[in-house]
């Protein structure tokens, strides 16, 4: 019944155009379905911006532009019935737009740029030379809240709430700073994955051209958690000091977050089961049992019990007389174990991993994968991310008039698209243009030299 209504309404909208006399509100129940998605792709999905981005300046008129560039990018579609189409490629924005509108994929993934058009890879394979190979790919990161299940007690699995989401905020801050300050990357896009985490796209030319070994090196640099489900202490910080990167992450992000927010919101020290986990991370039995003894008699205090107990733990571990090997890093190890970003390593290490495109709609939540501004990531609230049905409702109420660019500006999605354009795309394209021009100039210079010689 409900389904029929929606179908009819969609028909109406297609015929009448949107925003004529549609009834407001409740016809768009929250959730996700193929018909909503069709309208989303038809009216809201930013094809032109995506094409601009994926062209990296090669769609321009400059003689240094590589016109085949966009057409060598792999897209893959997951369709309604779980059909998975890999190695889709498009020569221009119209082809991309038509294919997406026609196939209405539930999920669009973006792969690498290959040496040749991925759709024609078989033809090349038959020619005998093994020349079908990835040549460029953004450096990508995938961080899922479900990988933090052993350190969050409010939710588990794909669920996320305002108590545990800040772990993602911390991850963005730590990784974003390292990518910019340590590795010198500038064009970084963070995206909400639509449900339980965040994706990161590093788009600088030199990031796109990293080989797998270099990707793995960066990934390992950023990775500190070792061990598995069966080992208690997940972070070991050996050495006589923290590496500058870890030291900075600790001092600027992790420590304050853990002490001022996380121990409170997760009640890490008021619940015996939880603080036992922490005590087990202390390598010195005498210290952990001393603390355990203190905490068993539940003395009332004016201050929050979590803060008090964390203070006691720190005092005992750092009180100078603790010269035992392995003790001096314990406090940091606890903080890192709970708060340091947990990356999906395999995604980042290989050029040919696929990653969901920004502005897709998550089929389970109906939420749009919108960009997150790392400068203001603590303001990001996943529960406030526009859903498909909210967007359609808004469209229906007349947000779209003439059918043009400015329509988008006024929708709930407008802010996200504006951010994408002004903070990510424009600076990116500017530096792409410069890069294309300078490498072209260098090439000309080189050929001149070789002529004169």
């Amino acid at each position: 019944m409900v389904r029929e209504e929606v179908d009819n309404m969609v028909e109406d909208m297609v015929i009448d155009g949107v925003g004529t006399e549609q009834k407001p509100s409740s016809e768009f129940p929250e959730g996700f379905n193929a018909n909503y998605l069709k309208i989303y792709y038809g009216k809201l999905f930013p094809f032109a911006d995506m094409h601009k981005w994926m062209s990296y300046g090669n769609d321009g008129k400059h003689p240094g532009c590589d016109q085949s560039y966009f057409g060598r990018r792999e897209f893959s579609f997951t369709l309604d019935n779980d059909i998975y189409l890999r190695f889709q490629s498009f020569n221009n924005v119209a082809e991309l737009e038509n294919a997406i509108k026609e196939k209405c994929p539930f999920k669009i993934d973006i792969g690498p740029v290959y040496s040749v058009d991925p759709a024609k890879r078989h033809a090349y394979a038959q020619s005998g030379d093994n020349i079908f190979t990835p040549v460029e790919r953004e450096l990508i990161f995938d961080i899922d809240i479900s990988d933090y299940d052993d350190v969050r007690f409010c939710c588990s699995g794909a669920d996320v709430c305002s108590e545990c989401w800040p772990l993602m905020t911390v991850a963005i801050k730590v990784i974003d700073t390292a990518l910019r300050d340590d590795f010198g990357f500038n064009h970084i896009l963070w995206v909400y994955s639509g449900r339980r985490g965040v994706h990161c796209w590093v788009c600088d030319g030199k990031a796109r051209r990293l080989n797998n070994e270099q990707r793995a090196a960066i990934t390992e640099y950023l990775h500190v958690h070792k061990g598995n489900e069966n080992s208690l202490k997940k972070v070991t910080l050996a050495g006589r000091s923290l590496h500058p990167f870890l030291g900075r992450s600790y001092a600027e992000v992790l420590k304050d977050f853990f002490e001022e927010k996380y121990i409170l919101s997760q009640n890490l020290f008021s619940d015996e089961e939880r603080y036992e986990k922490i005590l087990e991370m202390i390598p010195d039995e005498s210290i952990s049992s001393e603390l355990r003894g203190k905490w068993l008699d539940n003395k009332r205090s004016r201050d929050d019990i979590n803060v008090v107990r964390w203070g006691q733990l720190k005092h005992l571990l750092q009180s100078g007389k603790q010269k035992v090997q392995g003790i001096h890093r314990s406090v940091e190890e606890i903080v890192f174990s709970f708060t340091y970003p947990r990356l999906d390593l395999e995604v980042s290490k290989h050029m040919n991993h696929l990653l969901k495109a920004p502005f897709c709609v998550h089929p389970k939540t109906g939420r749009v994968c919108v960009p997150i501004d790392p400068k203001h990531c603590e303001e990001f609230d996943p529960s406030a991310v526009p859903t498909l049905s909210k967007l359609l409702k808004e469209l229906n109420m007349g947000a779209l008039g003439t059918g043009g660019e400015e329509e988008l500006e006024n929708t709930l999605l407008g802010k996200s698209i504006r951010y994408f354009r002004s903070s990510f795309l424009q600076p990116l394209l500017k530096s792409c243009k410069e890069e294309i021009e300078s490498s072209y100039a260098a090439k000309i210079q080189q050929s001149k030299n070789s002529l004169s010689w």
Binding site: D182, G184, K206, L210, S241, H243, P244, F245
Partner: protein, 455 residues
């Protein structure tokens, strides 16, 4: 490099840099090389590289690798005359370039073994020698100025302390290089990185040189390949080409062409011995033969030569094959069509040369087709079939997973080694390189158990 007949003399080049023996192999030397040396030197270097490859895939630690590489180098490459030694080093390197330039897989293997060799040789050099080599690389990186050092010295010290290195002082030389050039130092957080540049201390410079060495060699291999296909292969088709082609699949251990002395294998024991001591490849062929009373050519060769190697006499071999084949094709057809090739394998027909049993390498690189049962099960079986076969051999679940792990990373001989260890409950430190070695090692273990039980 000019290759001369056996009467030519190998002329000697200057000893090169006084500081170090290490070569960067920038261009092929102007040397005359005797044809015998051409092959012999290559085989010696190949032993070094294979040894390195073995050490790496067995997960040896850096300090163990350093000892291993040093020993391999001393044993296989050292000559009494320093200049001879340098020549041997250069010649063997350039010959192996020819051998390993011809396929992507070969190039990759050669690149990573040569780079590893370079790394450990470099590490053993004196600081002066290292500096001289660094200069020879002509890298575009400048040492960090003292003003810049002052501005980042706290971070440099912190990075050094965090990774257990000696803490730098004002006279420690640092190079500032794009982080992409030193992936191993980045991955292990052994350098301070700022805005895309890693601060590499003098004692870490080997990482940088490895990257450079590797990239130079990689480019050179591509060029060599071009020359090989466009000229050398044809020009040298009667002389070097056969040697080069044989070298890339050569197996360097003992060839097992003479049956082992210890024990002949008799027909009545053969089923029992197949179960206890045949490697999976041979066991599989053996069982298929018993089952189908037939094997195609590739299988007959692989199993037949193996059986010869383990000591099955010609007459027994004829009886053995005849017993099976005649059930399928009849005794008469066997005598007419198949007996010849068995006698041939034993050198009794045709050229009368002894055929040698196949090594693992040869078996792994074979390409069995439809209806074939030869090849290396770890490489050629589906995962499902391999698991079933291992279970049948009595390999426990944990060990099966370990074996599958090696298979996935394409270390087929290690997979076989692990199987051996699981089946025999004993370690096999040398690794399995030859089916006949598997057999001999297995028999040794079983024999010693029998004896100790008797006592």
């Amino acid at each position: 490099m000019e290759i001369v007949g056996s009467r030519g003399k190998s002329s000697v080049s200057s000893a090169g840099d006084a500081f170090t023996d290490i070569q960067l192999y920038r261009s092929a030397p102007e040397l005359e090389v005797r044809l015998e040396d051409f092959e012999l030197y290559a085989v010696h270097r190949l032993r070094v590289l294979k040894g390195i490859s073995d050490g790496l895939s067995r997960g040896k630690k850096p300090n163990e690798m350093e000892d291993l590489v040093n020993e391999l180098w001393e044993v296989n490459m050292k000559r009494s005359e320093a200049s001879e030694f340098v020549n041997k080093d250069i010649i063997s390197h350039f010959v192996l370039r020819l051998v390993y330039c011809r396929e992507e897989e070969l190039r990759k293997w050669f690149l990573s073994m040569e780079t590893t060799l370079f790394r450990y040789r470099f590490q053993r050099e004196s600081p002066e020698a290292q500096r001289a080599l660094l200069a020879e690389f002509n890298l575009p990186y400048k040492a960090v100025s003292s003003a810049e050092y002052e501005s980042v010295k706290d971070k440099l010290k912190q990075a050094a302390r965090s990774s257990g290195q000696s803490v730098p002082s004002a006279d420690t030389i640092f190079y500032k290089v794009p982080f992409e050039q030193v992936p191993d130092l980045v991955a292990s957080r052994r350098v301070f990185i700022l805005k895309g540049y890693a601060y590499v201390a003098m004692n870490q410079v080997v990482s940088l040189l490895m990257t450079q060495y590797r990239s130079n060699l990689s480019k050179a291999l591509v060029l060599t390949n071009r020359k090989w296909t466009s000229m050398i292969r044809e020009q040298e088709k009667d002389r070097l080409t056969p040697i080069v082609e044989a070298l890339s699949t050569s197996y360097l251990g003992p060839d097992y062409s003479q049956p082992i002395e210890c024990a002949d294998i008799s027909l009545k024991d053969i089923d029992q011995v197949a179960k206890s001591s045949f490697p999976l490849c041979m066991r599989h062929l053996f069982e298929k033969l018993r089952e189908d009373h037939h094997l195609k050519h590739g299988g007959r060769m692989q199993l037949g030569l193996f059986l010869k190697g383990v000591g099955l006499k010609l007459d027994d071999a004829l009886a053995f094959w005849k017993a099976e084949f005649s059930r399928k094709v009849g005794a008469e057809r066997f005598d007419k069509e198949y007996a010849y090739s068995i006698r041939h394998n034993y050198g009794k027909e045709g050229k009368r040369t002894d055929y040698t049993p196949y090594s693992c390498q040869k078996i792994i690189s074979s390409t069995p087709g439809v209806g074939d049962h030869h090849g290396c099960p770890y490489r050629h079986f589906s995962e499902e079939n391999l698991r079933a076969a291992l279970n049948k051999m009595g390999v426990g679940n944990r060990a099966v997973e370990d074996v599958m792990d090696k298979v996935r990373s394409r270390h087929y001989q290690l997979a076989c080694t692990l199987t051996f260890e699981a089946v025999h409950g004993a370690s096999c430190d040398a690794g399995i390189n030859h089916p006949n070695q598997y057999y001999i090692d297995s028999q040794k273990i079983l024999e010693s158990r029998k004896n100790s039980k008797g006592n």
